[in-house]
Symmetry: D2
Subunit: 354 residues, 4 copies
Amino acid sequence: MSGSIYGSIFRISTFGESHGAAIGGVVDGFPPNIEIDLAFIQSELDRRKPGQSKIVTQRKEDDEVRFLSGIFEGKSTGTPIAFYIENTNAKSSDYEHLKENFRPSHADFTYQEKYGHRDYRGGGRSSARETATRVVAGALAKLYLKQAGIKITAFVDQVGTVKVPGNVQPDFSVIEENPVRCAHAETAIVMEQLISATRKKGDTVGGSVFCIATGLPAGLGEPVFDKLHAELGKAMLSINAVKGFEYGSGFKGIEMYGSEHNDLFESDGTTKTNHSGGIQGGISNGMPVYFRTAFKPVATIMQKQESINQAGEKIELEGKGRHDPCVVPRAVPIVEAMTAIVLLDFYLRWKAYQ
Amino acid sequence: MSGSIYGSIFRISTFGESHGAAIGGVVDGFPPNIEIDLAFIQSELDRRKPGQSKIVTQRKEDDEVRFLSGIFEGKSTGTPIAFYIENTNAKSSDYEHLKENFRPSHADFTYQEKYGHRDYRGGGRSSARETATRVVAGALAKLYLKQAGIKITAFVDQVGTVKVPGNVQPDFSVIEENPVRCAHAETAIVMEQLISATRKKGDTVGGSVFCIATGLPAGLGEPVFDKLHAELGKAMLSINAVKGFEYGSGFKGIEMYGSEHNDLFESDGTTKTNHSGGIQGGISNGMPVYFRTAFKPVATIMQKQESINQAGEKIELEGKGRHDPCVVPRAVPIVEAMTAIVLLDFYLRWKAYQ
Amino acid sequence: MSGSIYGSIFRISTFGESHGAAIGGVVDGFPPNIEIDLAFIQSELDRRKPGQSKIVTQRKEDDEVRFLSGIFEGKSTGTPIAFYIENTNAKSSDYEHLKENFRPSHADFTYQEKYGHRDYRGGGRSSARETATRVVAGALAKLYLKQAGIKITAFVDQVGTVKVPGNVQPDFSVIEENPVRCAHAETAIVMEQLISATRKKGDTVGGSVFCIATGLPAGLGEPVFDKLHAELGKAMLSINAVKGFEYGSGFKGIEMYGSEHNDLFESDGTTKTNHSGGIQGGISNGMPVYFRTAFKPVATIMQKQESINQAGEKIELEGKGRHDPCVVPRAVPIVEAMTAIVLLDFYLRWKAYQ
Amino acid sequence: MSGSIYGSIFRISTFGESHGAAIGGVVDGFPPNIEIDLAFIQSELDRRKPGQSKIVTQRKEDDEVRFLSGIFEGKSTGTPIAFYIENTNAKSSDYEHLKENFRPSHADFTYQEKYGHRDYRGGGRSSARETATRVVAGALAKLYLKQAGIKITAFVDQVGTVKVPGNVQPDFSVIEENPVRCAHAETAIVMEQLISATRKKGDTVGGSVFCIATGLPAGLGEPVFDKLHAELGKAMLSINAVKGFEYGSGFKGIEMYGSEHNDLFESDGTTKTNHSGGIQGGISNGMPVYFRTAFKPVATIMQKQESINQAGEKIELEGKGRHDPCVVPRAVPIVEAMTAIVLLDFYLRWKAYQ
């Protein structure tokens, strides 16, 4: 109940602090007889890992995943799949100065208030390093979903005030070709420049990730609390630094009239428009499901900031270590992973009644 | 698992179709020895009920709640509190024409696809009428939270393109004084005009609800999946017609730099700004928690629309019955109710470790 | 979390005190499109109700169930099925003397300690009347299981020291023909005499119920905590007055050697013996699943007993009202109901992976 | 949902096959600030490990536990505690002959039926080796419960037909002094002889474990499904080889009259007798909670048995490797561990309402 277990039929239980021995997880409820493509899982992890390009943190973390159970002769057995990633490159000394201090807009203060005892090194459990375990679980989920014809693609659609223009059709083929993971090559260049300029100032900037899932059968999602988009929203909002979630027309839907917002049917049950985001009444309708997730600027900046320590005394802090100036390029695989985890869970819930 | 049970320690299990015998719910895990103020619960329901003003649906639904258990001599006993509201004013004949037809942007099609058998009258389980049960459960939660010093206030901050100006301080005292439930009297007038004009066109319009909770202790919320804002997001997204959720800086946070977004501490642990929305790392920090929920325009419009029937044949539909031209005035108590339900659950989870 | 919700995919949420307005429940996750045979459900309730014969309590409770949702045109819709039974014949005055007093071996004391406020009338939530709601939910489950070829039969196999002889093959056809619900007509007569004699003394006596389920596919049950028999055990132990549960060889298995206990296979995967009770490693093997549940003597006796009141003062109590001298004849449908609830849940969990 | 996660507030998620890389678990919801006595945890594991005496399996498994998270500077942080135990001494070659064969009364057949793909080596996930992870989680729980004044003690009270005499008061001080872990030194000798004689015949024998928990406050346990004894029953029945569970008077209660079974109160709320086993209405009453768990004889015997292979062909099998002739001496710490896990969970559930 302490919040590190997620899902209903397909469930993940994750653990680990950024500077402890390891991070990892246990996947319970993964279907048997699925070929486990270890290279694919590692490649997903590599998409998230630090040091991939000049615009992300230069920390070197190999993030090599080791599986402990649930896989036999290359295939899942239906029993729990446990894995961990050693924290090999944790420079705890970078954080010694944080033992008694609270960084602004980090979770140092709230963990201290909640638990009275915390692993202060690098944020401990609140570190974004935790998301690597979600990527592993998500990669497993993707292996199953792929067989079911479901495809998930995410990309960066905004960094600071730089957005992919509204009239542009996203080009999925360029996402992994640019360091920002933007689906529009031209915008990617501007985004990259903005991130670089921000880093030089010792600052950070926000961004957003767009995600689309296709190939879902109609019928995924449960009324009334476990609506498909409600669970997707929770999943996205559970990712570090996320401040908002919208699907379909989203916040733009506020300004629309019903007569323009309604998605009229074609004879085959598809709709002419898709303001609904592929979901009606919390249940997928067979159209693409799409949503957008907002990330705040990373709290660790390379500038002096005033703060307080545990005694409530004023102090001055300056970011040390190697941090991301913008989180969204590395957030893309995390958004995809959480989407896969949610979709597999709803897929299995759906299957129970087929 | 079919999605009509919500919560972890404090749980609600709801039921009911709009035109069945009744809607209702069971609240499990409500603390014992709390005085149950039935008049307050009814007044909360009355805030949600149709026919309150000219800008909401003119349906007459008395929505009288009957409690069946869990209350003895005016106080909760700690056992399940069950309740129901009879569907007294359901005009099923209004919906006879929908037996075989799918309304655009309603859940008719998805329920049919998912279940193969549906109560087509008035949307059945997908009807917003279901939210009345959330208001009852939320009113119970409020009774407890009030004792704990926690206060929840919601109001409409946007209808269509009409927004409460950014420099205006919300005035909670006017919320219940205007039919829109806006916290700014002047904006309320413009919103009301927009809604009236929209209704006259037989159209509907979207809107958004702002909600703030104060008096929370630091420490509510659980890493890493059950972050306080992640669960609030799920709760809001589970409400009918919701398309987006943001807390703290929200989507605006995308465009901010870390140096401006970070909330610097005062000596007492409060923060000078509150872009974080009262939550760090998923855990409340003692500052006000606030968020915003986007609602799409109601799908039922009083205009002719083309659609299809179950056979896939083209048909033409026009809204019948009495519907809301804009959902947000009546959504205010629902947003508050879901907030109360989430906060009580996290409050009890927190208490387990005190 | 307060314990009145049960199940994982197929879930029931029950409520109600014996002398409150009503008892009832909400069934979430029942499959759609199942014909709801209301007469069958009522007949199951009638098997449990008081006043059926001379050896059970002579209270008159009509126990008429009213459904509020989830059924449309005679078939389940897949949405929650809510129901309640009014407490029409509750003689609260019988219990006025218990307001401040604790009856021996009842839950008066523990409810008072746990909640500090209790509905003392007739045991309130701890009354066996609560089990009527399980029978309704179980009857629904049976409707589905019947279609899946699964059959559940329970009967009384012991009352006090009177047992069905070990060499007797149970005769299911006589179960409903005798007031004890024993599967052996001759033993039933002796049991009935024992119960009658016990009642005349103002005393009560224990008993046990044997239950067998056939037609299960191999594969139901989940390693390692949610073993099929573990959940059946929990379900049975959750019934009022139950003190023990055993399946397959049960407690007799303690005294056996592996060489005699092991169930050897036939070529078709069935086994020559069935000491395993149809379950290996927590998973059904396709053989009949059978188990036995022990019930203590009812605590309410028509004899004077010393006890204490809330102030800790010595008092003297004597049972009033109309109570069962032996609980097992009426426990038979309850055991079947809880079995059906568990099996349907595991069946749906199993289907999610087919 | 696949059954390897257990608990509600205090939850464990376990993994691992007997001959895979490792077994282990993640504990979620363990309270913060508890000193983690690693030596105690290891000593609990040592009580379970093979090779302790002549009457248990002579396999050498060091079962050294490695913690990966949730502990910082010797104390729990409130975040998930992950751990694993390498499978260092797994002789997979012992099991090569089982690749296609089904051992009688093992889970080979049911896993094959359920999953279609299984790790056949040593039973894989169905191996009793899995219980080592429960002992680690249980040892953590004991560290907390000890602080709360709750003590759990289990011992063997029957092996085959050899029982601790009914008039004997158990002597806890001798439990760890004899290889059987019996609380009566004289009976322990006879039990040891029986086990030795059984092993020499290449056979196995059943047994039972008695467990008692003292120091519980009144109020633990939840009506109506999550009764304290119902969850204890599920926990015990989830242990490998368990066939039955009884608490308080248990199966003997069947033969008792109400007038002798009822536990009369003393003025202080304690009871003169304790046939209730410390639980009324599913809620602890402050008296000692005690129960008894029946274990069948181990299925692997060193005798030739006929069986079948996956093709349904008749084969002959004989146990290889090093197995226990009787499981109960090593089951004692497992019973205690599962008891501790259940009690800590209910303790935290109780605290949420204090």
